[in-house]
Symmetry: C2
Subunit: 213 residues, 2 copies
DNA sequence: GCAGAAGTTGAGGAATCCCCTCCACTTAGT
DNA sequence: ACTAAGTGGAGGGGATTCCTCAACTTCTGC
């Protein structure tokens, strides 16, 4: 059953407003905000998207897939190092510019996470392997470091978004220089496990709903 | 006018409980928590420390001064590089182990900030200068990077505190390797200004009180 | 036009959270 | 034993946010 024409138009307004509002304030933004931004009442938002989660999914599914495409492109870069650092820089820029995207990437539930992982983890592994083979990436860094580095740098990006949007880039460059293979690098110790990564990711995003402690 | 003996004992219990509770959960911990932990009623806490701020100040003033001492010791290290990295590692360890200390360091009001800055900024400058002179620190890193690096790394430390307390060390080492002077380092771009640093610091700690937006 | 289905609205219900107050009650100390 | 000091903890007050609902408006097919 197709939507009435005005309802369809409102649906699109809501999606577009949600994208804007979430981009600026992350999932902490309220649906009242989204409604106001879209020029409709809250009730309309809830009629179209019964829960906040469903609205979020409708807004960010595509954007998350763009990240997979980005990883694929990184593998096709002229050199492994360019591919690796290009992926870090571009995905950091995307996450910095769209807090909602970051929150979406970090707060996926188990099901979404599994699906996404199956797509992107093999790509990250290949990106890292290729750089190891090239000899440009330090041997003790692995693909497990990707999500943690991203979480760390983009968190800084959020904190400085209002005063100086590009500040995070400086510290990403610092980390990138730390990732280069060097004869006299220090040692990094144990890499994070998948469990660690999941736990850190969860900690990086505030719960959608008042926490049940 | 001296406190009654039981009141004195309770005051100490409160301070010690506050330290524990803030160390574990940061300033987000409630005074009800502190009271419960101390085995006293909330009323007792408020009788001794009229506001949350005053309790925090009573608990953390000394610990903040320890950081100044640490910076002084860093200047006396055998090499500039050892001093610099030792200071980063130790202060990161302190902040990682005591979330309250981190919150205190990041959320000082203007008055405390000014006082503290006057003490520690000259030390950080000297630590950095010494390392520049030694030739071990990359030329485009400055003392302004200290607080940002600390904020970034200790935030990760908080996020992984429950699952893997030492995880942050790996990424601190990565950053430290990125700080080394190298012929082929990338360039870092603009250093943060004092204003940027203050803004990022504020963003790193949730407001003590419900925000007035 | 018009009937009725579909859609809209926004105040407010319900749940949480947390700082802090208040006052009936207890205890230390002379 | 008396009094001043101290204590406890329910609850006031203010904030936040998700979501509902009943009265109202607009679209659409006939």
């Amino acid at each position: 059953m197709a939507l009435r024409r005005d309802a369809q138009r409102n649906r699109e307004r809501i999606l577009s407003a949600a994208h804007e509002v979430f981009a600026a304030r992350g999932f902490a933004a309220t649906l009242d905000d989204v409604a106001h931004h879209a020029g409709v009442g809250v009730g309309t938002v809830y009629r179209r998207f019964p829960t906040k989660e469903e609205l979020i999914e409708a807004v960010f599914t595509d954007r998350l897939e763009d990240l997979v495409t980005l990883a694929e492109e990184a593998l096709a870069a002229p050199s492994a190092w360019e591919g690796l650092t290009g992926f870090l820089r571009t995905s950091a820029r995307w996450h910095a510019a769209d807090r909602g995207l970051r929150d979406a990437a970090l707060s996926m539930d188990e099901q979404h996470f599994t699906t996404a992982s199956e797509q992107i983890v093999p790509l990250l592994e290949q990106i890292m392997e290729r750089a190891h083979a090239e000899g440009t990436l330090r041997a003790d860094a692995g693909f497990h470091d990707f999500p943690i580095i991203m979480a760390m740098v983009t968190e800084l990006a959020q904190h400085s978004a209002d005063c100086r949007p590009g500040l995070y880039e400086r510290y990403l460059e610092l980390v990138i220089d730390g990732l280069r293979a060097r004869p006299d690098n220090g040692s990094l110790g144990h890499a994070p496990t998948d469990t660690d990564i999941r736990a850190v990711m969860r900690q990086c995003v505030p719960p959608l709903r008042p926490s049940r402690t």
